[in-house]
Amino acid sequence: MKKEASLTFVFLFALIIISLPLISAGFPEFWNKVTGKVTTSPVDLNITVTSGSAPLIYSVQNSTMTDVSSGLNEGPNPTYITINFSVSDTDGNANINDSSARINFTKTGETTRENLTCTESGSSGNYANYTCNVTMWWWDGAGLWNITAYISDINSNSGINDSQKFSVGTTAGFQVTPSSLTFSSISPGATNQQATNDPMSLNNTGNLVRNVQINATNLYGEQNNVYALGASNFSVNTADACAGTAMVSQTYTSISGASLPIGNYTINDGTAQEQLYFCLDSSNSNLISQSYSTSEAGAWTIKIIA
């Protein structure tokens, strides 16, 4: 009798040990299962009776989809992503409603990207493959995106697969326009001379928020390079005014207040854009009449940083 009791104990012990990993919702749920007690809350049920078996999306091929783990195309170029998924239906592939095949990419805080008209790319027996083209844009956020594929059959049975994810990398980029800025003629010792066709517009063509720095150089005389307009004579401003951030020769200087948020700059309403105004705050009074340029000291560089 004792032996039988101990065997029963061992059996029950083993059963509990094996069951432990299977209990995912913790002891309360486990207890409720044992006692049969259910939580009480009203539930709306919508039961649709259909015929036949539901299609099964058994594979979403994220491993062969367009790789964007190293970043999307810089703006204004879209990134076209091709992705395939495979479906089985025990009622035969003819039972699958091809026009219902769709896929979407989602990420918290991001606009859903989708293709509602995936096309059948091959079928045989109970199986069919579908190809989807989804367009993503340069401002879509970096990180893991969820993939949800959907299909239904002609009896309104549906199948969903949301088990796969893919990674979007980061892109830091920008575009500068216009292509040239002009200053009117000045006299030696002139002050507060603004560029005549600024602002210079910067567009964020990536998916990272950036700040702006400028590396300035002196402008040496083209005929007599003993004379120069120093980089420190210039300032750059986000407002249409002089006395902005003073430039420093051969040094990257952060432009106060200048930043490039992410977004669709092509709307051209200020989204993901920054404007810079250039001013010659002062000029030396001993300058001689000639052209001054960056051809000797090198171009100024506008740089985006984190």
Binding site: G71, G173, S293, S295
Partner: protein, 180 residues
């Protein structure tokens, strides 16, 4: 005197700021703050950044320099100057080597600075573009099994399974005896 000043002002240089048409380029990476490059002590990893020239108007000549992290990161190849044809992307390969005595859990940064190279012509006030990219590194222990369970979990499961089988056999024996 007044007449001389006006003359001087009249002939003083006209500044023209010229940028090479639409200036644009981008640098892409699979690593960022929330997704650092993970590496173990004593390990060397070769990876890359991507230069894009999809929004400009001509081929780009880009100079790449590592401004932080030179002690463990270096560009691969003979030159740090890259030509990026219009409408294309190119990879900029680099390697990262972490010493054996690196501390697990430490994080480091590599900062790359890219700038377009241009030769301003006479009379121009030229502008170039630059992009700075930060690649975060995280020192981790050597990556081994990707199994989510420890070895002792498997041991417990195996032992429990043996006990279960043993229990079932004993029960069958008892049942047989009862029937007899």
């Amino acid at each position: 005197m007044k007449k001389e000043m006006i003359k001087l002002a009249g002939v003083f240089g006209i500044f023209v700021f010229l940028i090479s048409a639409v200036s644009a380029f981008a640098v892409s990476s699979k690593y960022w703050e929330e997704n650092p490059l993970t590496i173990s002590p004593g390990e060397t990893i070769e990876t890359y950044l991507v230069l894009q020239n999809l929004a400009g108007e001509s081929d780009l000549t880009v100079e790449a320099t590592i401004t932080e992290g030179n002690e463990f990161a270096s560009l691969i190849g003979d030159s740090n100057i890259f030509i990026v044809p219009l409408g294309q992307k190119i990879e900029v390969p680099f390697s990262v080597s972490i010493p054996e005595d690196a501390v697990i859990g430490d994080s480091k940064n590599i900062i790359f600075s890219f700038r377009t190279l241009s030769n301003p012509e006479s009379g121009e006030f030229g502008f170039g573009s630059g992009v700075e990219r930060e690649i975060p590194l995280l020192i981790i222990t050597e990556q081994k099994s990707t199994s989510p369970f420890s070895w002792w979990v498997y041991l417990v499961i195996v032992l429990a399974g043996i006990l279960l089988i043993f229990g079932i056999i004993e029960l069958f024996k008892k049942e047989k005896k009862k029937k007899k």
